[in-house]
Amino acid sequence: MKLLVCIKQVPDLESRFKPDAAGVWYNETDLAFRMNEYDEYAVEQAVQLREKLGEGTELTVLSIGPDRVVEAVKKALAMGCDNAVHIQDTAASSKDPWQIASIIAAYAKDKGFDIIFTGMQSQDRGSAQVGVTVAEQLGYPSTTTIVGFDFDNGTITAKRELEGGIKGIVTMKTPALVTCQLGLNIPRYPTLPNIMKAKKKEITAIPVADLLSTDALATTTSFHPPAKKGGGIVLEGDVGDLVEKVIALLKDKTAVLR
């Protein structure tokens, strides 16, 4: 069986974000990068499946972006993917979800992947579109936001996480695509022997121009911090003073503490 997991390298969300020169995305200076958290669950699930299926299974990890994404790719290899594809694109962040999905679909279309795993959304853009769009372009069934995954004899049984904590149970036959939600599993910490083996695993580099053939369907016209909300009070200072102020506010603005 052939498995694919698509990952994205995103900035660490603790960072302070500033608009780039064009004002349409974040400036990359002083940002720390890491694998998109949703994708960690996707990689872990893919690796677990790969281990379960054993001999004859091949798990490929794919990522689009500049050279720095290779670090995230290596982590996926160290978690247990067999080989990798790095679609080299220094301007990946300026492509819209349609383009990203098209690139992935163009790569995947003749490879015969049985199951494709992606994260449900990225932590930076968060549009939650790429996974399903890839499936639609490839003509694969897909389902999203899975917190449970089982594969047996050509059929996937997935649990979708719905609002209010309810789950929806779905089955589909492969080839298929799933997008993964946080909590699907516990992503493993790569062991050192696996980290060292990963150094020898093949990373195929493909220039994005080889795979991209569409324009963006939407454009980002501005990337900016939210306007400061009027009316909200910010209190700072000594803890004792803050307590007094909050108690006064509670008495004044709410019915609590009359």
Binding site: F17, A128, T133
Partner: protein, 303 residues
Amino acid sequence: MKTLLIGEYREGKLLDSTYELLGFAAQLGAETALLLVGSDAQLPAYGGTLYLADVASCGEYNPDLHKKLILEAVQKENPDYIVFVHSSYGWDLAPRVAAALKAAQVSEVIAVADGAFEVGCCNAKMRRSVKPATAKAVVTIQAGAFPVLQPGGSPDVRKLSADGGSSLQFVGYEAAEKKDVDLGKAEIIVSAGRGIGKKDNVPVIHALAKALGGELGASRPVVDAGWVEHSHQVGTTGQTVSPKLYIACGISGAIQHLAGMKKSDFIIAINKDKDAPIGEIADVLVVADVMQFVPALTAKVAR
């Protein structure tokens, strides 16, 4: 400008979020048509065109089929925007419709401004303005971002039916874990977020809740980490609450949590980060170390 609004029906009920779509359309100043895979026993209080497919035969979750139904309605209505709520139903279905139409999709819109859609990004810390470049566009709106609008009246129902196989089978729902705590009824909620530091600190937050006569709430990360039980979780995958007073301790303000509590009457957030997104919706942001401030407040309140 014309919009086709895709309502949602789940576990036998028409969801209220359907009316937020109307609120959104009103802000756009657009004409509306509604599509719903539902039942004529529960029609929305809406006087416009309603494309209705029978949920009993189509199923509540059947993306292939629902997509076909929507495309049919799109053919008939020729809308500029096809609008979904950004819910587990919407974000699953919208890209399928967008792909079929090769239309731009803008996800989780929170506002409309200057002809562009404003969406959150980077964990709600920043904003993006997005403009579709295609004639038609698919839009999903953030739950709770737009006001509920119930225009009233009876819809002009146009029945839809589609058949054909589905590439996936919906087996059924699995109930959420039993809730010992019904936060939905609580008047005061004090919630613990990751910023409290460790599991041992949860009692400190709980103590404040008790001192105020309220309930303990929690953000998702805290529940995932096992510090608090799921029944206390506030947010899209937990409970949606609207107490008179909501105190968020060490909660940064991820969208999913905000969605669950932003309707609270008075919100106090305690966070050592002045720029935490929760400051966006909080009436008061106390910039302090949670573990220093909360015990001090509890002590004063208890007196």
